[in-house]
Symmetry: C2
Subunit: 226 residues, 2 copies
């Protein structure tokens, strides 16, 4: 068995990681793992010269990202017109505490995807995207739900963004202090940050006797189409 070469995305002038090139990642699989782990992305687009960064849910299916929203939402209407966008997903993994303020940092993984989103009109592709949104958040949730109505599919605007021009930026590891600071008497290292699920809060109208939601289900997140 031979290793297959990694599927690398092209490094463009717009996705090149300039400041610390070693932090740049162009491997599609690594980029997809980050995209599949995040809950929200920030979508940047400009209207009348004013840029906006708007948080929103998303999901990945194959080599495409999907966004959704009410057909009445400003972001959806603007993006449907074919604006250039930047979709960014950022996971903060830890606080990097050095002996000097200057070398404080964060460990993080972020992905930037550049391109143009297209509105999805085909009901089957819309349904597949809505399925992906739901299971992106909670694996296996879709088949448990009251089946989606045609009218709900119609009322939801879905946009597709191909993952063609993208890169990840990753920082891991300890603080990088200057040698002459190593004797400074303060704790230095990494404080990991983790997002955890708290105890589920049942809806007031919940039917009696239903099994409680098991937050361990969220650990299966990050597997496409889970």
């Amino acid at each position: 068995m031979r290793d297959t070469p990694p599927d690398l995305l092209p490094m463009t002038d717009r996705t090149r990681v300039r400041r610390v090139p070693a932090r740049g990642v162009f491997d599609r699989a690594a980029i997809y793992r980050i995209l599949d782990e995040g809950f929200v992305c920030h979508v940047a687009f400009a209207v009348d010269g004013q840029p906006y960064a708007i948080p929103t849910g998303y999901a990945r299916l194959g080599d495409r990202l999907y966004l959704h929203g009410s057909a009445a939402s400003r972001m959806v209407r603007q993006l449907s017109a074919g604006l250039d966008v930047c979709l960014t997903v950022t996971l903060v993994d830890g606080l990097v505490l050095a002996r000097s303020a200057f070398h404080h940092s964060m460990n993080y993984r972020s992905v930037v995807v550049l391109g143009t989103a297209r509105p999805v009109h085909d009901p089957e592709e819309k349904r597949a995207a809505l399925h992906a949104f739901t299971n992106h958040v909670v694996p296996g949730r879709w088949p448990e739900l009251r089946p989606i109505a045609d009218q709900e599919v119609k009322a939801t605007a879905v946009l597709a963004l191909p993952i063609e021009e993208a890169s990840a930026k990753v920082r891991t590891g300890p603080p990088l202090d200057d040698d002459e600071d190593l004797a400074w008497p303060v704790w230095a290292g990494v404080v990991p940050l983790v997002t955890v699920a708290g105890a589920p809060v049942p809806d007031a109208d919940l039917l009696p006797g239903l099994p409680v939601f098991d937050p361990a289900r969220l650990q299966r997140r990050g597997r496409e189409n889970a």
Copy 2:
């Protein structure tokens, strides 16, 4: 004793919350609590017509937000030229699991600040901002550190963004299912998401005998100048 009226930011056409106006928050104190809790923001700006959303650290001092970076960073160079920016901070508080896919949602608090960042040249203001960056992440960290060198202040570019045009958007509470779905037999409610600190990982070169970093210190975050 009389209540003082809340200090409201003006609602502009660009910060109005359109889709669900009840989620819009213009109270300065509420906006500042969200800004003080986040670890990273996303800064949107456009270069040659292409928008970017770039994650970065930040801190608030009074009615200003500060950003920083290497003087060589592309974002710092672009923003220093006086570009319009949007700085967004998003906190995801919970997954809102409804009986239908259509009513799934997230509980979140986000703030959008629009404006133009100005480069900070005054060394005293730069120092104050660097102090704020450090203590924004870990309250009380700054005085423990090897004091910052003039040369480090010089090598760090700092940008100031006034908080003049801003709004928050907040969703809280249970899923809002359609009445006819309440009998659907699936668990519905809110799964809270919390960011917690894991066990601190000491740097390999740590001096022996230093007190271990206490993650409980992070609970004091969100108090300005802590």
